[in-house]
Amino acid sequence: MTQTRRAFLGTASAAGLASALPLKLSAQDALQMALVTPSPTADVGWSHTLVEGASAAAEAVGGELSVLENIAEGPDADRIMQRAAANGAGFVILGSFGYMNGGLQLAQRYPQVSVLHASGYQVAPNFSPFAAKYYQGTYLMGMAAAALSKSGKIGSVSAFAIPELITSVNAFALGAQAINPEIEVSVVWVNSWFDPASEREAAQALISQGCDVMFSNAQDTPSVIALAEEAGVYACNLNSSMQSYAPNYYLGVVGTDWAPFFTAQARAHLEGTFEGANYYLGIADEVVYVDDWNGDIPSEVMGRIDDRLAAIGAGEFNPFTGPLVDQAGETRIPEGTTMTDQEIQGMDWHVAGVTTPLPS
C-alpha cells in the first residue's frame, strides 16, 4: 500500500514537497479500507448498515476502516475516492449508485485496489456492483401490510424510481395481493435519499388519501415511521430497524446485513482472488432478512409469511413469477415464467395494483 502512495505522489508532485504532506501512517500489512456514503451516518438507514457491515469486515480481516460520509455524488466524490486510494486504501466500498463513473475511473487507475459499488450495473476486473434483493423481504412485508389494512389502501414513500426500488414496491404489492387481491398501493417518489421534510410531507399526503399502512422505501431517516406512529397507521421500512421510532405501529423491517458479504470480499482481496462480478444478494445469502414483526399481525397470516420466507430462502418461490400484469393490464410475464435476476434488476414497470404511474 505504501508503495502505491509513493508512486502516486512521486509522479504527482515534487518529492520534497510531497513528503511534507501528513499522511495517516499505519502498520504496513493492515488492509486500509474506505467507505464512501452519500448521506450522513445516522443511527438508522442505508449508510448506517453499510458502516456496520464495513466495520465488521474490517474487524474480521484486521483492517482499518475510514468512513467518508455525506459525500455528494459528482466531481467531489471522484476526488475524495482518488485521495483515499492514493492514501493507501486497498479496498473501497462506494455506497451510492451516483459514484459509478468516478468509481470505474478509480478502478482503472488503481488496478490493485478492489472496489465494491452499490446498486450499479457496470463490472470491471476489480470493480463489482452489489445490491440487495429487497423484493424478497418486501413481498413478506406486503402480506403483513394487507392483513392489517382496513381501507385496502397502502402508501409508499419511495426515494428514487430506480429498478431496485421499483421492484421493492412491486413485490410489496404482490405480497399484499396474496392476502387481499383488491389492495391498492400508492407511491410518492421524493427523489432524495435523505430529506426528512419532503418525506414527512409525502407520508402526510398519503395518509390523508386514506392509506393506513406506510412503506418507507429506502429513506435514510425515520421521518415516515415517526409520522406513522403519530397518525396511528402501521409502517415498515428498509435496511435497519426503526422500531424505536414507532413502538406501537411498527410493522417490521426488511433489513440488510452486509457484514458477511463485505468480509468475504475483503478476504478475497487479501488473498488475491477478488474478481469483478455482479452480486445480487438476498435472503439465501443472509444479506436480506425480515424482523421486528408487529404483534397485531394475525397468527394465521404470520404462519403464511413464515412459509413464504422459508420457500424464498430455499429458492422454491420467487415473487416475480408469472402471470404478472402491468398497470395497463397487459400480461408482461406469462404464467409459469419467472423473471431472471437480470430482468428484475432492470425492471422499469409497475405491476397492476400499484395505482401511481411511474415518472417517465
Partner: protein
C-alpha cells in the same frame, strides 16, 4: 449596557489588508478548539486543511478545477452586489446553464462538430441569463424583490432538472437512474493542464475577472451601475436608468453562473446529473463578499475558498474529520471576516446612557 458602532473618520489601509489575515487566524484558533473537542487530531486536521492543497500538484490542480466556477460566478454576482442588486439565486442560474448546455449533446448525440462545446457554452450563458432575467423583469415591472425571486427560482430550477432527468432526458441505457447518457468527446471542454482535470473553464473565469476589473474599476458603465444602486435619486438626475442597472446586473451575473454550469457538465461531469452544482451558486456569494466585492479580491478569495474545500476533503480522508466540520470552518471564516471588515470601518463605543 449598550454599545454603538461609530463610523471611523478614516479606515486604515493597513488594517484593511490585515483584516482577512486576522480572520484566518481566528478561524484557525476556534477550529482547533472545535476539532479537539470532537476528538479528531486537531493539529493534523488543521495542517491538512491549510497546507495539503498547496503541497502537491494533484491537490493544487483540483483547487484550480474548483476555483473556476466559484471565480466565474462570484465576479458576476459582485457586479450586481455593488449596484445593490442582490442575486441570491446563482445556484438556479447555474442549473439552467447546465440544462441549456446539455440540450445540445442530448438532442444531437451524434454531433461531432468541433463547434459543439463552444455552442454549449453560449447556450449555458443564455440559460443563466434567461433565468436571472425573469427576476429582472419582475423587479423592474412590479418592483418584486429580486432576493426572493432569484432564490425561489433556484428551487424551481432543481425541479426542472429533476423532471428532465427522470423523464425526457433520462439515459435509456441507464436503468432508470436520473441522469443523461455520457456526452460525446466533442461536447467536452479541452483540458488546460495535462494529467489533471483542469479545463479551459479556468480561462473563462480569468477573462471574466479581467472584464469585471475593466468594467467596475475603469469604465463609466460600471460607475453608472454602482450609482444607480447606491444613490438612485442622484442617478436619476444624472440620467442613469435604474431599470437598466437592474437588468444589466442580473443578466451579467446570470450569464456568468450559466457559463459555470455549462462548464461543469462539459467538464468534470461529462453528463447532466442531479448533483450538477455542489453548491457553487451559494458558495460564490461568500466568495464575492470575502473578496470585498473587488475583482482582484475575488480572485484571491475564490482561491482560498476552493483550497478550503479541497483541504477539508483531504482532512476528511487523512484525519477522519467529519464533512460537517469543514462547513463549520467555512462559516467561521466568513463570520470572522465580516466582523474584522466591520471593525476596520467602525469602532465600538459604549453608548452613554442619558441621565434619568
Amino acid at each position: 449596557m449598550q454599545f454603538d458602532l461609530i463610523r471611523r473618520d478614516r479606515a486604515s489601509i493597513s488594517m484593511a489588508l490585515l483584516a482577512p489575515l486576522l480572520a484566518l487566524l481566528a478561524t484557525g484558533l476556534v477550529s482547533w478548539a472545535i476539532f479537539a473537542a470532537i476528538g479528531t487530531p486537531a493539529g493534523l486536521a488543521l495542517w491538512t486543511m491549510a497546507a495539503s492543497p498547496f503541497t502537491n500538484w494533484y491537490d493544487f490542480s483540483e483547487v484550480l478545477l474548483k476555483m473556476a466556477p466559484l471565480l466565474l460566478i462570484a465576479q458576476g454576482l459582485a457586479i450586481g452586489f455593488r449596484a445593490r442588486v442582490f442575486n441570491i439565486g446563482a445556484e438556479g442560474q447555474l442549473i439552467l446553464g447546465a440544462i441549456f448546455a446539455s440540450a445540445l449533446p442530448v438532442w444531437f448525440p451524434g454531433a461531432t462538430s468541433p463547434l459543439l462545446w463552444p455552442a454549449m457554452m453560449v447556450a449555458g450563458m443564455a440559460g443563466g441569463a434567461f433565468w436571472a432575467g425573469i427576476a429582472a423583469f419582475w423587479r423592474t415591472r412590479l418592483n418584486a424583490n429580486e432576493i426572493l425571486v432569484t432564490l425561489m427560482l433556484s428551487l424551481i430550477a432543481v425541479q426542472v432538472l429533476n423532471w428532465l432527468l427522470l423523464g425526457p432526458w433520462k439515459d435509456p441505457a441507464g436503468f432508470n437512474f436520473p441522469q443523461t447518457a455520457m456526452f460525446q468527446a466533442q461536447a467536452l471542454l479541452p483540458g488546460l493542464l495535462p494529467g489533471t482535470r483542469v479545463n479551459i473553464a479556468l480561462l473563462f473565469a480569468s477573462v471574466a475577472s479581467v472584464a469585471a476589473y475593466i468594467l467596475m474599476q475603469r469604465g463609466v458603465a460600471g460607475y453608472r451601475l454602482v450609482v444607480t444602486g447606491t444613490a438612485p435619486r442622484a442617478a436619476g438626475y444624472a440620467g442613469f436608468s435604474a431599470a437598466r442597472g437592474v437588468w444589466l446586473s442580473l443578466l451579467i451575473s446570470g450569464a456568468a453562473a450559466g457559463l459555470a454550469g455549462a462548464a461543469e457538465v462539459a467538464g468534470p461531469l461529462g453528463q447532466l446529473q442531479r448533483s450538477v452544482s455542489q453548491g457553487y451558486g451559494f458558495a460564490a456569494i461568500i466568495v464575492a463578499y470575502l473578496g470585498g466585492l473587488h475583482p482582484l479580491g475575488i480572485v484571491v478569495s475564490s482561491l482560498v475558498m476552493s483550497a478550503l474545500y479541497i483541504g477539508g476533503d483531504n482532512a476528511a480522508v487523512f484525519a477522519d474529520l467529519p464533512q460537517a466540520a469543514v462547513r463549520v470552518v467555512q462559516g467561521l471564516l466568513l463570520t470572522f471576516y465580516l466582523i474584522a471588515a466591520t471593525l476596520v470601518r467602525y469602532r465600538i463605543v459604549r453608548a452613554r446612557v442619558a441621565p434619568a
